[in-house]
């Protein structure tokens, strides 16, 4: 609710009626948005484009009167949707998600190989499962916030997370993975 008050309190442009300082409101959210998009797409350039598009969408919706109760969760939800759209679009079909050539020809460093394998496993997850994994493990968000961004209940988010962990690390106990 604090963010609703923030949006409502913004001075408005006299001509357009739009809040005057939307960049100021959205700017702190761009960093987390970039982190989310990078983790979802494994491609920095596409991630930047996606967050750019998401910020435009957010701007338009806020200008049109949207008053999300939690601005951060709402914005990250917009970014997540744009990540899914980016993978659907033909023009991104050339994006080699998570499989960078340099890792195949580089030194057989165990850590690099483990990272490559893990990214490959993440890419194989369904978008909805990958989203909760990224939000929980990479953005370090609590489960209720993960659920809000994913647009599901907390129990559904937990179920997705457990399912994803079993796929990523079949040899690992779920409770152990959650540490």
């Amino acid at each position: 609710m604090q963010q609703v008050a923030q949006i409502m309190a913004l001075p408005r442009d006299r001509r357009t009626g739009e809040p005057d300082d939307l960049p100021g409101l959205l700017a702190p959210l761009i960093g987390p948005g970039i982190r989310l998009a990078c983790a979802m797409l494994h491609d920095a350039q596409t991630a930047e484009d996606v967050v750019q598009d998401a910020s435009l969408i957010a701007w338009r919706k806020l200008s049109a009167g949207a008053e999300p109760s939690n601005l951060k969760s709402w914005f990250l939800g917009v970014v997540a949707n744009e990540c899914r759209n980016a993978r659907r679009h033909k023009w991104t079909s050339s994006v080699v998600i998570g499989l960078q050539d340099r890792h195949h020809v580089g030194p057989a460093d165990e850590r690099v190989l483990r990272g490559t394998d893990l990214r490959r496993a993440l890419v194989r997850l369904a978008h909805s499962d990958r989203l909760v994994v990224v939000l929980f493990f990479y953005l370090d968000l609590p489960l209720d916030e993960v659920a809000a961004i994913a647009g599901v209940s907390v129990s559904a988010a937990r179920a997705r997370l457990y399912r994803a962990i079993r796929r990523l690390r079949p040899d690992l106990e779920v409770e152990e993975a959650l540490l």
């Binding site: 100021g24 990078c38 920095a44 350039q45 930047e48 910020s55 435009l56 338009r60 690992l172």
Partner: protein, 267 residues
């Protein structure tokens, strides 16, 4: 090692420079209002069909071209060929006081890493009341001129002067157009326009021209910034105002059109 740490490590390898990316996105957002208004126009043109839609498209193109070529921010960039003409009301004694401040920009060895930053939360490089981000480039025999956007806090008052230095070659940055002041340090031909190069930029924040645009808390000035062909891509800027002095370092490679923007460390 925990799954959390493994995921952090795995994604970090493909994540890029998040701060630079975020700075670019925010900077684009700041100059977006004009574009968002064109989106609204597109909505009511959608039901039009046939010739009407063609006319609408042509009108739309005209509108966008108008925004870009005659729009407030970009209009300012057409001051390329304008001779430096400080307003007769400018108090040159005050400007001279600012110019007398020593440059706090230090050259570094050619092979050293460029100490890029700090970044603005809003608008590219510079974390004080002034920040800068680059734009389209024009070439000449002498070097390259970046249509840079200089952002100042709208609450800033008085004169602000800007100076710059290539930190690896030691060559001074030049400014052209009607906000360049001081003695001419050279001349050049930019797209058939004869221009005078100056080493100092002057922003009179108390009397911004009508073409200057404010976006929320930021005032956006279009400034052509020139770097010679020997430029290392590691450029320090110092901005001095009556109440502040600020430096930041911009880095960028050559070969694109927006190379003065914050560059990703990986790209």
């Amino acid at each position: 090692m925990s799954l959390r740490v493994d995921i952090h490590d795995a994604i970090a390898e493909v994540a890029g420079d998040e701060r630079a990316m975020a700075a670019r996105v925010v900077a684009a957002m700041v100059v977006r209002p004009a574009l968002s208004r064109t989106h609204r126009r597109r909505r009511w043109t959608a039901p039009l069909r046939g010739i009407a839609s063609l006319v609408a498209v042509l009108l739309g193109i005209t509108l966008i071209v108008g925004l870009l070529s005659g729009g407030r921010v970009l209009q300012d960039w057409h001051s390329y060929s304008a001779k430096p003409q400080p307003s007769p009301n400018v108090d040159m004694a005050l400007v001279a006081q600012l110019e007398a401040r020593p440059l706090d920009l230090h050259t570094i060895p050619a092979g050293a890493e460029c100490p890029t930053g700090p970044y603005s939360a809003y608008s590219g490089y510079g974390s004080g009341p002034v920040s800068l981000i680059g734009g389209l480039v024009k070439h000449s025999n002498w070097g390259n001129y970046f249509n840079s956007l200089v952002y100042t806090d709208v609450r800033l008052t008085g004169y602000v002067i800007g100076r710059g230095l290539d930190l690896k070659t030691g060559h001074a940055v030049v400014f052209i157009g009607n906000r360049a002041i001081g003695p001419a340090v050279g001349t050049d031909n930019v797209e058939r326009n004869r221009v005078q190069q100056h080493g100092v930029l002057l922003l009179d924040t108390d009397h911004p021209p009508a073409t200057i645009t404010d976006y929320g808390k930021l005032r956006v000035w279009g400034i052509p910034v020139g770097l010679d062909w020997d430029s290392s891509g590691c450029t320090g800027f110092q901005f001095d105002g009556t109440s502040f002095s600020q430096t930041f370092v911009v880095s960028g490679g050559w070969g694109g059109v927006t190379m003065f923007w914050p560059q990703s460390e990986n790209g």
